[in-house]
Each structure stands twice: as C-alpha cells, then as structure tokens.
Symmetry: C2
C-alpha cells in the first residue's frame, strides 16, 4: 500500500489545523506545519477562522495581548526569540491585530487545494516578515499571481455571500468545539492549543493513522 | 576551575525560577527543573510567589482557568497529557486553586537551603499527585519531617511577620518585573513564561554562564 492509497482510503494520520492570519503564534505554525506533517506522513486539514468573534464570546473586545499589556509586551519578545529558534523571518507588525478577512475567505474556500499551504505561508510572510497589509484585493491578487493562479475568479468567489457564510460557519464551529485561541490542532477529538503543541499533536496523528492502518490490514 | 568554584565566583549560568504552588504548570517545572539544571550546570534561584495578587492587578478575581471555562477545561486535559509525556504522577486536584500560603512562606525563607528543591517537589506531589491539602501546619510539618528537618522552628519562622512581608515583597517584585503567570523564568533580564520555555531558558543560562567564564579567563 502506497502513501497515496493510504491517503485515499483515509487511514493516513490526520491533523486539523485551526489558525487565524492575524495571530502571531499561528504564523509560526503555518510556516512549520507543512514540512513537519509531510515528514510524519500526516495529512493536514486547513481550517482558517477568525479569533475576533471567539474573543467576543468571552467578553473580550480585542486580542488578550492588547487587553493585558504586560502579556502583550512579553509576546513580542517571545515571538522574536521563537522566530530565531525556528529560523523564520520576523518583523513586528506595525498594525496589530492586522485584519485578514479576505485571505481567510480565500483559504476557507480553497482549503483542499494543492496550493493551500503555499498560499497561507505567503499571506503570513507578507504580514509578519514584510510588515505589509493582507486584507486588500490587490494584496491577495499579488499572492495568487505569485502562485501562478488566476486571481480574478478566486477573488470574485471570496467576495460572495457563500464565502462569507462559510467562514462565519467555520468560526462558529471553532467556538462550539471549545477553541479559545490560535493555533489550535485537533487529532480526532483531542485538542491541542498553541504552536508549542504542534509536535505532540503530530505524534498523536501518526499513532492514530497507524491504528487505523492496522485495523484494515488485520 | 571546578564547578564549585565557578558557582562561588558567580560565573555559573543562573536561572531564576518564579512559581506558585497552586499553579498546575508550575508543578511540571518544579518536578523537572532540578535534574535539567544540574545536567546543564546551571544554578537555580528559587522564587516562590503568589499569583493571586498578580491576577488582581489585572482586574481578575481568580485564576483565568476559572474565569474562562473552555480554557480551564482544556488545561486539565493538557496537564494529564503533559504529565504522561514527562512521566510524572498526576491527579486532578479536587480543589482549585489550592491554597499554598504556608509552604510558599517556608520556601521563600529557605530558598537558599540545600533541601529547597526536594521540599518544593514534595509540596507539589502532595497537591497534584496525592490530592491533599498543603496549607496546614500539619501538612508542611509532615513534609519537613520526611526531609529529616526540624519542623517546629521553621514553622514558627514561617508564621512570623518577617516571613509574611518577605513573600509579599517577592510577589510585588514579580509584578514589577512584568510577571503575569507561572512558572516564569529569568536569565539575566530575559523573561520566559511557561513550562514550555524551560529548555530555552536553561539554554540561554548556559550561554550566559559561558560568556562570563570567558571574560574571567581572557
């Protein structure tokens, strides 16, 4: 049985990756998850969502990093160190949280596309390395062009009610499943919060995949 | 130059370890730090403090794990997994946060004692493995007895105004230095929050120690 066949019959380990384009620690996981998951033989289910409405359900008007100043100050220092550790580019965004509604809609619509990982990495790098806006149609078009994709129909779809509703539903689902921050990973019903838990989540996904494979073989 | 001499001349890497006996993630670090620091050749400066007054300065009446129910629910699951990962005993405490004022005073007074690590581990295990109270004189006396120490004079001192003020000052210092949770580590002025950052903090402490040693040798 090849990896491809395992994938198609659904017995490859799988990780659901919930993230928000404005979340610094989501940036770390977006940049890291592709290579790590590939190495582990785990399939990624991309689940962009919006943290803002989640925070609101907890009575928070904005990011906890803004509401709690000392925690926010620490986070920026921690992010600089984490990027150095993982050898990732880093510029503290001049705007925080930086709005990423439009790329979130594109990523929600195209979560199953073969280019989804590359798209998400480019959006994140534009914000957290180049310190540039990501919410304008021009910004997203530039990224799609870079990926040799036809930006125009994708952007039209991203502006549709269908796309708006889909992202809204995803965000509601996030809340219903107990998500309170980003990134969050699910392996089956097991939830992991934070980039610091990515390795643990992937390890569980590998075991879960192996368990399923044994069932079919036996 | 032996390790002992390095220690005495202050060039051994050093880590300040700020923790609260009621904090679950502090339990993980209390259990792990002794062996890890010894292996790395890093000196631990034990800094017990009280998280409660810190949370109050942020307008929180109690632990964020109680104020934010989904986060609290996740934390208990995460703790069970983390203890399994680090092969530590674990029982979810029936009382949370469990008051640990008296052992905090003893640990603050005796932070430099050779038995401080063993004492802190026993307090933590009593709470997070045996699910027993830690704040009564009897509880602390039992732990001190176990360590072949004379409990009576230590407890008398722990009940003194001197001890109360010292712990109060430490907690104020924690707030002034930007601590907003526990465990928190300092290596020189670099702050690290959370058990997940213990390894990074120790690594920096090793570099800092090496740097100081080079200065003296050169």
């Amino acid at each position: 049985m090849t990896d491809g066949e395992m994938h198609e019959t659904g017995v490859l380990g799988q990780i659901e990756f919930w993230f928000d384009f404005s979340s610094p620690y989501s940036y770390l996981s977006v940049m890291r998850i592709g290579e790590l998951a590939q190495h582990a033989g785990v399939k990624i289910v991309w689940r962009p969502f919006l943290l803002g409405p989640i925070f609101q359900t907890f009575g928070m008007s904005t990011s906890p990093f803004l509401l709690q100043k000392t925690k926010g100050k620490y986070m920026w220092r921690d992010m600089a160190r984490q990027c150095q550790k993982y050898r990732l580019g880093w510029t503290r965004p001049s705007e925080f949280p930086r709005m990423g509604l439009l790329p979130s809609r594109v990523a929600t619509l195209e979560a199953g596309a073969p280019w989804i990982g590359a798209f998400c990495r480019k959006v994140m790098e534009r914000s957290f390395v180049e310190n540039r806006a990501i919410n304008e149609a021009d910004s997203v078009a530039e990224i799609l062009d870079d990926l040799d994709l036809d930006a125009s129909p994708l952007l039209d779809l991203a502006h549709s009610d269908f796309a708006k509703n889909l992202l809204r539903q995803r965000t509601e689902e996030a809340g219903n499943r107990g998500i309170f921050g980003a990134p969050t990973f699910f392996v089956e019903e097991e939830m992991f919060w934070g980039n610091d838990r990515l390795d643990d989540a992937l390890q569980l996904a590998v075991s879960a995949g192996t368990r399923e494979t044994s069932k079919i073989i036996s």
